[in-house]
Symmetry: C2
Subunit: 348 residues, 2 copies
């Protein structure tokens, strides 16, 4: 579906491991003052002075987390960084460094890895993180990317999943379900392509949801905005596995219950239209789709004036006493228990 | 060759991803004061106060870096940690935390991963590092382990590859070539086993070299010893790809030459005996074998009295002016240029 227009194919075997890493990373710049030494020694050296640091890691595996038949390698590199930065921001921290390791089979030429690293570099530049290390190795099959992201946070500014209190407001950034519906469109087009490789799909009306799937953005801007608004969430998590699963994490770790209002869940019009086309319930998609990389957080009621009417935020419910349970209040007004279906077991 | 005596086989599909991580890591304790929050949130939170931190990462891939037909999973878990800690120590730092991510195919039952994590736990306990995060995912084939290790170092105590000066002494800890010869023995026994699965190999006389291959130790003790002796190396690297390759790294990054004396290269008697048995030159094995995880470093001549006659160290040569080149001085007294053959291109 995505045509490879790059005709040059340099076998990886032409370069040794050291030469490969050097080749792929030579255009990366070091910009963080906390990076004392990046790539090129046994380990990177960092200096955060009195700040706390946060560390998170994620593994992306071909044909488990991504499908190269519709995921361009450049976007994959970008997304691999986003997935990790999103976790850093979910701690209310600033992302500062990443390490990227890849295992890759011989079917990939050097030019493919250059595309992957160009996406990584774009992400590093836009999000102002330094690439400080990594490992490159061969794999018997496919492509695997392991990213570790590091961030810094002023002492006592970090936000855990565990700090929500009853009556806190539950807030989410952006909108939900788009990445999942983008995936549905891409999967459908892949099937069409299999039958007729000459078909030219018109994806214009799905541009937003496809971009949310192929090129998600981690919400660095939200962390800055919260700081500017002088709001420190009482708990926070990023929405990677679906809103429902993340709400349950916050509630369980904070030892509270919650009421979430179906009618408040923010949906883009393209999500609603595509859900209608696919005959899928949009609330189910928002609750269980995942890969939104939005931030879900709770705030104390007294911070309500600071965020109210801000278009970046939607208040979708409130935390409650643990004994009252975790519920979705439907448009019809009935209360149903929230369940974590997650991405893998999703069925409409 | 290694018989699986564990008859219980719980399919991984019985546990979800969260349950799997929780199950595998629940017995891990947090001991470092710098670990503010370990596993269980979007990211770990660390506080190093005024120390610098070092970060390193390595990827181990089945049938590229290890062969499960003779590598027990428990040892593999241990070795995956050692490989990374060795890089931390090579910065003259103390290892404090690790993250471990694994991609695993369905052919592994839960009990296999428990074995792997029990090796990781043993390593974490002995080397006093906290497991603070990771990711667990399925893979289409085989097992892949991605470890990121973090360490701390007092400001200005870190040692790079780049600080060696002409006339500095070149020193190595322990002995070399054993892990490589251990691998040769294991590979031979694997072939014998293929022909006759009932053969009972007598590996008694290879115990040291096999242990060096299957259960290497990172030289935490050497970092402590150097501190106790008040010696700060001018440059340092760990020996993972072979002595020759590592010497060239130090020389190139320090902009110096060197003379290394063949007769000084430390070899265990078992290495010498096994090399004779396999008809391989032991110097070639020491120079190019790799996986020794010893520390190679340069010290100023004035520190010579502090390390002389210490059985942990062997002075194998000295740094020279860049223009004089990098040479091995053979037992016969001739000078031959040092080359990095590394592990992969090794041939006797």
């Amino acid at each position: 579906m995505i045509e490879d227009k790059n005709q040059q194919r340099t076998p990886l075997s032409e370069l040794g491991e050291f030469a490969l890493i050097e080749h792929l990373t030579k255009q990366f710049e070091i910009k963080q003052v906390s990076t004392v030494k990046g790539i090129g020694d046994d380990a990177a050296v960092l200096n955060f002075e009195n700040k706390k640091i946060v560390v998170t890691t994620d593994l992306l595996v071909e044909n488990v987390h991504f499908d190269l038949s519709y995921m361009p390698l450049k976007h994959l590199g970008y997304k691999a960084i986003m997935v990790n930065l999103s976790d850093v921001y979910a701690m209310n921290a600033t992302a500062t460094q990443v390490t990227v390791s890849i295992a890759v089979s011989n079917r990939f030429p050097l030019e493919a890895l250059e595309d992957l690293y160009s996406g990584i570099q774009t992400a590093a530049k836009i999000y102002n993180v330094d690439l400080i290390g990594g490992d490159t190795t061969s794999s018997t099959t496919g492509l695997l990317i392991s990213v570790t992201a590091i961030g810094e946070v002023e002492s006592d500014n970090e936000v855990y999943r565990s700090g929500a209190k009853p009556n806190d407001l539950l807030v989410v950034s952006g909108d939900l379900g788009a990445a999942y519906m983008g995936l549905q469109v891409l999967e459908r087009e892949k099937e069409v392509y299999k039958v007729n490789p000459n078909s030219q799909p018109d994806l214009e009306s799905y541009s937003y949801i496809i971009e949310r799937q192929l090129k998600p953005e981690a919400r660095k801007d939200i962390i800055k905005l919260l700081k500017d608004l002088d709001v420190k969430p009482t708990s926070m998590i990023d929405v990677s596995d679906g809103l429902s699963s993340e709400i349950l994490h916050l509630c369980k770790q904070s030892n509270v219950g919650c009421d979430v209002y179906e009618e408040k869940i923010p949906l883009d019009p393209q999500v609603i239209a595509t859900c209608e086309e696919f005959n899928i319930d949009s609330t189910t998609v928002a609750l269980n789709g995942g890969e939104d990389y939005e931030l879900l957080f709770s705030i104390s009621q007294e911070d309500f004036p600071k965020i109210k009417a801000n278009p970046n935020f939607t208040i979708i419910g409130y935390m409650a006493d643990k004994n009252s349970g975790m519920h979705l209040v439907t448009r019809a007004g009935s209360k149903i228990p929230l369940k974590a279906q997650g991405w893998k077991n999703f069925s409409s």
